[in-house]
């Protein structure tokens, strides 16, 4: 194990998969000569050459669709969106073409493609650049959606995504690219299965269910709550779809209280689905109503103070935890 950044972890994952399988290529805006808008693809052009690390024009629908077509005939494209806010321009390719092909062709064409890039609100980018797209994509049958929060998960999930025979979205956390964490050494193969949550911290009083950018938030809050004698268990979903129901239910059966903290908006958000499944399956385990902390239901304001008010934060999360603990 050694400590590396989330960005380096993704870079290692890309390099290892490109090295392993000649059918894998990386395509997107600024991925090659510029070394990636967020430097995730740093050095890959030098190492793998322009045949496999391919710059595109600003043309998301075009190159996302190109990826789907290449996957139909056996390549394994990794398509980078500079941010997933821009993937909305390619929504038809990601939602209509990639996941539907296997069904519509009666099982003849699966689409082994990875769409990846930063996702979720960053810092003062305004409404168009701050989308948390996970509920949009998790709603489409045929897609898999994962949301790594640590360098280790970023590497392990991206590598698994590239090897998956279905279309997988790796929604990277824009604010976490420079965050550090312990990751296995590069000579150790690190694959983290899609659909496996991880308990990032054990606790006994309340389950805080989180993913992506809300994981570090939840961990920080758990440390604070400890001072007030509230023991919070932190369940990082890691994958939104498939969803690890067992890990969620196991934690809830232990703590009997749940707060879901999510980076998306409340209406039809990820938390709504998680909440539904908990109450449907283990209603009797609950000692309090399930609560959610999400964004406010408004387009993201540019103003810094207002933006902070829209996003989940420690104050909101602590207050919500106390409500479910009747503390």
């Amino acid at each position: 194990m050694r400590e590396i950044t989330y960005r380096q972890a993704l870079n290692e994952a890309l390099a290892e998969e490109l090295e392993r399988d000649p059918n894998v290529f990386l395509m997107g805006e600024e991925v090659a000569e510029y070394n990636g808008a967020y430097k995730v693809s740093q050095g890959l052009l030098d190492r793998f050459g322009p045949k496999r690390i391919i710059d595109t024009p600003i043309s998301e629908n075009g190159f996302a669709g190109l990826g789907v077509g290449a996957a139909m005939v056996g390549l394994r494209p990794i398509i980078e969106f500079m941010t997933f806010s821009f993937s909305l321009v390619a929504f038809d390719q990601v939602v209509n073409n990639a996941p539907n092909m296997f069904t519509m062709s009666g099982g003849q064409f699966n689409i082994p493609i990875t769409f990846r890039g930063p996702n979720g609100p960053a810092h003062q980018l305004g409404a168009t650049h701050s989308h948390a797209t996970e509920p949009l994509y998790a709603n489409a049958p045929g897609l898999k959606v994962c949301t790594p929060a640590t360098p280790r998960d970023a590497k392990g999930l991206l590598k698994t995504a590239v090897r998956d025979d279905n279309p997988v979205l790796v929604l990277e956390a824009e604010l976490l690219y420079s965050s550090k964490g312990m990751v296995e050494s590069p000579d150790e193969e690190l694959l983290i299965p899609l659909g496996e949550a991880e308990v990032k911290r054990e606790g006994s009083d309340v389950s805080i269910i989180c993913y992506a950018q809300t994981v570090p938030l939840a961990l920080a809050v758990a440390a604070q709550l400890e001072d007030e004698d509230i023991s919070a268990e932190i369940v990082d979903l890691r994958s939104i779809k498939p969803l690890d129901e067992k890990a969620i239910f196991d934690s809830v059966a232990k703590t009997h209280r749940v707060v879901i903290v999510e980076q998306d908006r409340p209406f039809c958000g990820v938390g709504a689905e998680v909440c539904y499944r908990i109450q449907k399956n283990i209603f009797d385990e609950l000692d309090a109503p399930i609560m959610r902390v999400s964004q406010e239901d408004v387009p993201m304001p540019y103003n810094e103070r207002l933006e902070k008010a829209v996003l989940p934060n420690a104050g909101k999360l602590i207050a919500t935890v106390k409500r479910v603990c009747y503390a």
């Binding site: 075009g62 669709g65 190109l66 064409f109 969803l243």
Partner: protein
């Protein structure tokens, strides 16, 4: 570069007739409510796809839009599998999961059947990208209608195709109408082929009612692409005799216009050429036509008696190679048919 052996023209005429008889029978079965959803017929346009297919190899890639029955038939998908697909049966070319607009046949390199206008042109770019990536000399034939040329995905794809010099023949089947809107009312160009010029792609206009012209022009283009990968664009001028779909009476055009095109019918035209050259007798033609009609009728019988995909396999075609926890429910039982979709 050797061109493939020219396909026998009488066989190609038989293929055009099979397509026409298939579509006529599909129309009848649609009216009898054996076929659901939308159903877009190819009648009048047969020389386009048959001419194009006659110019390529079996391993070249073919992809098209939603008026796709003919493309599958021309690729060699059986009338049985095509009709069964329209009937929604498991024996259909997409197991009854695709329907009229989503015909696929992997073994014959028929890559669909795509129903969002223009959205498959980027896919064609990807298929051709893969050929070039693997240094194969395959060519991708990408068919689309005149309605696709104003869609963003079309423009994005053309730019990428030109930029990456991809081996694609972009085939615009210009039948003058995007649903009910004429090219005149939809497109800011005097002629569609000029779209290609904007992307520095060579373009040509081809008479789509003339099988030989389509085949020869395409053969020339494909031969040039195999030598050195590059895109090409053809605007093939054709006409559909029927409405946009089964529900369209086509009241936006005149009977005179339709009659004018019917007089130039592609099947009649090839038949006359072959007869004049002594390659076809009336008896032989009648025999071919009879065979086409019988094939299609047998296909209806096949489709009728074919099974539907069993309900317990509803979730088998969403994800490949994986049981997805939290997504796939316990397989719904046949008896729970009406609640299957909501019991998660």
């Amino acid at each position: 570069m050797q061109r493939p052996e020219p396909r026998d023209e009488v066989e190609m005429l038989a293929l055009m007739l099979l397509i026409r008889r298939f579509e006529e029978r599909a129309s009848q079965q649609y009216q009898a409510q054996k076929i659901g959803g939308f159903c877009h017929l190819y009648i009048g346009q047969e020389a386009v796809v048959v001419g194009a297919i006659a110019a390529v190899r079996e391993d070249d890639y073919v992809i098209t839009a939603y008026r796709d029955h003919a493309h599958a038939l021309a690729r060699g998908t059986s009338a049985d599998a095509c009709m069964a697909e329209l009937f929604g049966k498991e024996t259909g070319c997409s197991r009854g999961l695709g329907g009229s607009m989503h015909f696929f046949d992997r073994s014959r390199h028929m890559y669909g059947g795509h129903a969002i206008v223009g959205a498959h042109v980027p896919l064609a770019a990807g298929m051709a990208f893969a050929s070039k990536y693997r240094t194969e000399d395959r060519v991708t034939l990408c068919f689309f209608g005149d309605g696709a040329i104003n869609q963003g995905s079309f423009h994005e794809a053309l730019n990428l195709i030109a930029l990456f010099k991809l081996p694609v023949v972009l085939i615009c089947e210009n039948n003058l109408f995007a649903m009910g809107t004429s090219v005149k009312r939809s497109t800011s160009l005097k002629q569609i082929v000029d779209r290609a010029e904007g992307y520095d792609i060579p373009g040509e206009i081809v008479d789509g009612m003339n099988f030989r012209e389509v085949r020869d022009k395409l053969a020339e283009i494909v031969c040039s692409i195999r030598k050195d990968p590059h895109p090409a664009f053809v605007e093939i001028r054709t006409y559909r005799y029927r409405g946009h779909s089964m529900s369209d009476p086509a009241s936006y055009r005149t009977k005179d216009e339709l009659e004018k095109y019917r007089l130039d019918d592609p099947i009649t035209r090839l038949r006359a050429q072959l007869t004049r050259e002594g390659k076809l007798t009336n008896e032989k033609f009648d025999q071919i036509d009879k065979h086409a009609k019988e094939t299609v009728l047998a296909a209806v019988k096949f489709a009728e008696k074919s099974p539907e995909l069993p309900l317990e396999r509803l979730y088998d075609y969403t994800y490949v190679n994986s049981v997805v926890a939290g997504v796939s429910p316990a397989k719904p039982k046949e008896s729970a048919a009406d609640t299957a979709a909501t019991t998660r």
